[in-house]
């Protein structure tokens, strides 16, 4: 317990001094503003730049008038952006989590001082999770407020916060995944490749109904829905599956790290 707290302090210091928190905060807060903004003005933006003839064609294609955006689009855009740029930022920031320490030789140095492999991995995971929780919880009210300003209407604040927590459950799966790849791989470029491949696989399966509900990425849809006040029966199993996968990835990482030559 003692070494767990000590190593968590080191991880917090690293997050602050290497400006990871700052980067995450900027990205998340940025999209809390940009998301609703795009939701509000994207249609008008298109109308402005597309010649009238083609606009008619587009309207015809979509079966009638281009829809008037509502506050729902503000929320949806916020989550859609976070699921892309936000997740990729998290992946980039954390892909060196274990590998950097292995290559620099700090991992063996710390482990030889009596730090256990489990504590090493878990304190990293804890601090990374808490960091993303903070930025997620901070950006949701911004998105909520900004949506309200733009549409003069927004969803229930409590539901929006709950939605953001569900999104975070997806984020900690991504973190565990990056820790796992970072433990397995020998090169940072491999971590990046594995990470992006996994991410694309998740996205590809997300379009398949009945599969989507069982994959962590499905939580992005769930988070959006919950924020809009729509709860469905897949929410709980979907969250549990994601949490289970997170646990499996962490246990596997610890196990593999123990067997690795450092």
């Amino acid at each position: 317990m003692n070494t767990y707290l000590t190593f968590m302090q080191k991880e917090i210091m690293e997050t602050m001094r290497n400006k990871r928190l700052l980067v995450l905060a900027c990205v998340f807060a940025g999209f809390a503003i940009l998301g609703p903004l795009m939701g509000r003005y994207l249609v008008e933006f298109i109308t402005m730049f597309v010649p009238t003839g083609e606009l008619d064609f587009m309207e015809e294609l979509m079966g009638g008038m281009l829809p008037q955006p509502t506050w729902v689009d503000g929320y949806a855009n916020f989550y859609a952006n976070l699921a892309q740029v936000g997740v990729i930022t998290v992946m980039l920031l954390y892909m060196g989590a274990v590998l950097d320490e292995k290559r620099r030789g700090t991992a063996p140095m710390m482990l030889m001082k009596g730090l256990s492999h489990t504590t090493f991995v878990m304190s990293k995971f804890t601090v990374m999770s808490l960091t993303t929780l903070v930025v997620t919880l901070a950006s949701a009210p911004i998105a909520h407020l900004y949506t309200y300003i733009l549409f003069e209407e927004a969803g229930n604040f409590g539901e929006m916060m709950l939605g953001s927590v569900i999104f975070w459950v997806f984020l900690i799966f991504i973190i565990a995944m990056m820790i796992f790849f970072s433990t397995v791989a020998k090169k940072i470029s491999s971590v990046a490749i594995y990470g992006f491949l996994a991410y694309f696989v998740l996205i590809i399966f997300d379009v398949v109904q009945h599969v989507r509900e069982f994959l962590p990425y499905g939580l992005v849809t769930q988070a959006t829905m919950v924020s809009m006040g729509n709860f469905n029966e897949h929410l709980l199993p979907n969250s549990l599956i994601s949490l289970g996968a997170t646990a499996v990835l962490l246990i596997a990482s610890i196990h593999i790290l123990k067997k690795k030559e450092l």
Binding site: K10, R104, E261, L262
Partner: protein, 308 residues
């Protein structure tokens, strides 16, 4: 397995895909000794040390630290380790890094502060406020030594602790290592043989993954069958040859001329006797000479001989 040994290996072997780095190595380091671990580049020093610190898995063989069999991945608490290229958290100061190490070793709060300060003073980094990312190589090596000693380990492995240091730093670090004598057993790999001769009481030489020589410096020198010799250096080859001729008449000596320098040796006559004769012949022939010395086989000579 004896309690008298700080480190003992039994047929320790490490085979990489492409190389047999350490090949059936058996050696022992007495407790409290400062042991020089020597070998050419690629001889297998780093690989051996990494196995003994539990960081690399031996292909076969075993080892014991302080009389206790240890194994890969167990986290050997009694050892300190300075890697050949030590890495740190660049965003910390030296003080913060050592404090982290001390806390991970579960050192109580009260003790910790003074201990960390003492270590920093010892390695000459006290009062340095720069973050580690701004450290020079020598400063990193000093911090590396401090972290290896932080838990007051029974055995410390140092992989080339002085390779990046200036002459003063080298002397400082050698003094620190010498001060550990009797309390902590030290295994240090280095290429600077004069330092080894000065402070090591035990020496292991490995070549191509095999131990080729081990023991105290005296033991090794005793086994090494080149005796002391008298060396005279001249200003020109002519003088050198004339002198050699003159000496030949004085007794049964072996002469090894080498670039205006003559090495005189004998199995029958003592070195002391040869030196007296040399002086006499030099005076009689009224020969100018550049240098005159009695040359004992140095660790350098032994090293070249056994790793040939």
């Amino acid at each position: 397995m004896s309690q008298a040994f700080a480190v003992e290996t039994f047929g320790l072997t490490k085979r990489f895909k492409t190389a047999l780095a350490v090949n059936d190595v058996n050696f022992s380091v007495p407790q409290g000794a400062i042991c020089g671990f020597l070998g050419k580049n690629g001889a297998g020093k780093t690989t051996t040390i990494k196995m003994l610190t539990g960081l690399k898995k031996p292909t076969s063989g075993e080892f014991a630290i302080m009389g206790k069999k240890e194994a890969f991945g167990k986290g050997i608490r009694q050892v300190g380790y300075l890697p050949d290229v030590p890495g740190f958290y660049g965003y910390m100061t030296g003080w913060e890094f050592l404090d982290l190490c001390a806390r991970l070793c579960n050192m109580p709060e009260g003790e910790r502060k003074t201990h960390v300060e003492d270590l920093l003073k010892q390695v000459g980094l006290h009062g340095v406020k720069t973050k580690i990312s701004g450290y020079s190589r020598g400063m990193r090596q000093r911090l590396g030594i401090a972290q290896a000693l932080v838990n007051s380990p029974a055995v410390v492995f140092m992989d080339e602790p002085i390779s990046a240091l200036d002459p003063m730093g080298r002397r400082d670090i050698m003094e620190i290592i010498a001060s550990l004598r009797g309390k902590t057993s030290v295994v240090l790999s280095t290429h600077i043989l004069s330092d080894v001769e000065n402070i090591c009481d035990h020496i292991i030489i490995i070549e191509k993954g095999k131990v080729v020589e081990q023991g105290t410096l005296a033991e090794i020198k005793g086994r090494f069958n080149r005796q002391d010799a008298v060396q005279v250096a001249f200003y020109n080859q002519e003088d050198c040859d004339t002198f050699a001729e003159a000496m030949k008449g004085q007794g049964d000596f072996n002469f090894t001329p080498h670039q205006m320098r003559l090495t005189i040796q004998s199995d029958k006559v003592s070195t002391a006797e040869i030196s007296k004769l040399t002086m006499r012949v030099l005076t009689e022939t009224d020969m100018p000479f550049k240098g005159l010395n009695v040359d004992a086989p140095s660790l350098d000579d032994i090293f070249y001989e056994v790793t040939k």
